[in-house]
Symmetry: C2
Subunit: 427 residues, 2 copies
């Protein structure tokens, strides 16, 4: 199978107006409608597909043929429980041939994931981010971080190839806003980076032949990754909160990602909630991040506690915190008891501005959902202004893999949007 070698940006940017429709575009649009319908709602018969999409049965048959030729859908037997007669056949997403790859480049870890068209994780790998401890503090040396990121991507590409998967695209998630036009990281303050040409640097390291590479912010990808789970509950308006060193929000409204005009939406870590609050490294006071960032938890521990070490995998650091809590560490217990009220101060603002139906807690918020979920839900319920409806608080189902999973999903968007991008299977 062929691979395209290019570093583009603006994953499915959605900045398109209504376009006029010709006959070739009509066929392509209808292929997309069918594939999306199966992707969203699961396998069903041709007759059901025709009924639900409004396409004629003849059109459905012809379009399904095109999709099957590209290994995007397959036919299978339906098990009908409790009925007599021969089993029907249904059309389903074919998970065997097409995949997307996502890489999260975080302050604490690099996580890569390969997902097939059915959304199943085919490969995952997480390693600590290279960090230098200097007398002045921590720094994240650009070269080694990029080298390791490229190595992770190469490993994922090799795994996909070994499993017979054509890769639709690569999406890389830095912890900060992205310049979609140039493929650079505008600012990743917790890494100490600004205006890094990330797409070009990774593309160069990968060599000439690689699938299209795009950038998207970590919080936005995590929101996209959680969206299908919530869509199954008919929830299309949600806010995902990253719980890392910083706090970012991924916003989805009416099923669409809200990026902001320059990609800076959801930079909520520095909303000022208290003019008399603690000083923030950004220069303001009472920023949300000072109240609920991961550092606000680590700060209560001894300086050399292993949970504070950036050299250790994040899973081990979280496990260490859990052990301390289970051993009855009073400082941590106190911190986690105060956390819900501070979380709700910021989350309440997001509810008033955006009116989401769901808030998803990611990062360490999600890892300690057993302690945080109920008090956060109760405090949000208590502050409802009027019958705006209850906001459902849940923990991320994807944990530390959320942004990488979202990246793989965004890469697969390329095929859902235009199924003709996938190559015809060789016989």
């Amino acid at each position: 199978m062929s691979m395209q070698g290019s570093a583009s940006t603006a994953a499915g940017s959605g900045r398109r107006g209504a376009a006029p429709v010709g006959h070739a575009a009509m066929r392509s649009a209808n292929l997309s409608v069918l594939l999306r319908h199966l992707h969203r709602h699961g396998g069903r018969s041709r007759a059901t597909l025709a009924q639900e999409t409004g396409l004629s049965k003849a059109s459905v048959t012809s379009l399904v043929g095109d999709l099957a030729e590209r290994g995007l859908v397959q036919e299978g037997q339906v098990e009908r429980r409790g009925t007599v007669g021969r089993p029907g056949t249904e059309v389903r997403i074919d998970p065997r041939h097409v995949a997307g790859i996502g890489l999260e480049l975080n302050v604490d870890y690099l996580a890569v994931g390969v997902r097939d068209l059915a959304g199943v994780a085919r490969f995952r790998s997480t390693v600590p981010t290279p960090v230098q401890d200097t007398p002045a503090g921590r720094s994240f040396p650009l070269g080694p971080v990029l080298d390791l990121a490229a190595q992770q991507l190469r490993e994922a590409l090799a795994e996909a190839e070994a499993q017979g998967l054509w890769v639709a695209g690569l999406t890389v998630a830095p912890p900060g806003p992205v310049d979609y036009a140039t493929g650079s990281v505008r600012v990743a303050s917790n890494l100490g980076w600004a205006e890094v040409p990330l797409a070009a640097e990774l593309s160069r390291r990968l060599g000439a032949e690689h699938p299209p590479l795009e950038l998207e912010n970590d919080a936005k990808l995590s929101a996209l990754a959680e969206a299908p789970r919530l869509a199954r509950q008919c929830i299309t308006d949600l806010v995902y909160l990253t719980g890392d060193l910083g706090v970012g929000a991924g916003i989805i409204a009416e099923g669409r990602l809200i990026r902001g005009w320059s990609g800076f939406s959801g930079e909520v870590g520095h909303i000022e909630l208290d003019p008399a609050g603690p000083a923030c490294r950004c220069g303001r006071r009472g920023c949300w991040e000072t109240l609920v960032g991961f550092d606000s938890v680590l700060a209560v521990l001894d300086e050399h506690d292993p949970a504070r070490s950036g050299q250790l995998p994040m899973t081990q650091r979280l496990r260490r915190l859990r052990e301390l809590l289970e051993a009855g560490d009073a400082r941590l217990e106190e911190r986690f008891a105060a956390l819900p009220a501070d979380l709700v101060r910021g989350a309440g603002v997001l509810v008033d501005v955006l009116n989401p139906q769901a808030i998803v807690l990611g990062g360490y918020f999600g890892a300690f959902a057993d302690l945080l979920l109920r008090p956060v839900q109760e405090a949000l319920d208590a502050r409802l202004l009027a019958d705006g409806g209850r906001v459902e608080v849940s923990a991320s189902a994807l944990g530390l893999d959320a942004a990488a999973a979202g990246g793989a999903a965004v890469a697969l968007e390329r095929v859902l949007e235009d199924p003709l991008r996938a190559p015809v299977l060789s016989a």
Copy 2:
């Protein structure tokens, strides 16, 4: 011309997924593409239309014929400056036959407006909202308010008919979130209303035969009304701030209105910006509304100052404030000097969450733009985190007519979305 009699809701709700495309729908979609193109970009030749929309020249000619038959477009001579030869013809929006009507139902005034398809105001009327001063304070008696609103709508309909305009729809804007499914006002706390079946009550008062009647929140309509002005500067991400007794935000992201899952987006008057701030009537502390609402200005005046009287037209109350300021009223000068910092505390949060390219000041903020605009712009510039880009602050160009103008625009959306809704002109 026929009029439809129904009270529906959810003006152009935008909750549609990708739909499959058949041939009839294709024609209807292409009529909409052409009409929107002319509506957004102004008159142009058939050749230019074909080039810009990607439609064939033959299709454009045929589609323009359909649109002209319904009085939506017309042909005219182009004046070519500095060129020789016979003048070309161009296709333009025809403003003579189709209109929309918007009514704002505010705490202080009822404003109605008729706008034609070219966006020109054909009729405007503003009257003070009926108010009862009781020992307990002010109340807004439901029956008299609804009667007056219906009277305003009847007057506007009669004006439209007298001018030969077919009315595509009526949009009514209460000062609070709307239940789109039932056509009721969920809560209008400053009117003391909750769960008022506004669409049904007005529809009943208008009688059986009237154009479709929809509800939409005032801040959201105002944002929609200002959007075309900003779109001409290529700005598609904006926040409109109502500056009334309460403060609400209308949010437009990538050209689309963000409603929130239950219509409660932009309820920003009660975001808590200071745990030690003044008590709000909502029960919280340090709400943005307590810092910048119209009452925070009126409160510095004598109790019986005419500016505080709800019996007077809003324009007169604003004029009174202006006179006091010009006479050097020290209390007002001090209040207006403190206002920008308080405005930016809330606006800054909206910038961090939404990353808009523009903030539009409405209501009394807009009326005193000469005092507020520059300091607000400077304070927002000073708090930029990184190169997220400068937010342009401007005053509403529509002033107290903004929500009514937005309502008329939403009503006209019905025709832009499906031009076949407009009746064929009688010969």
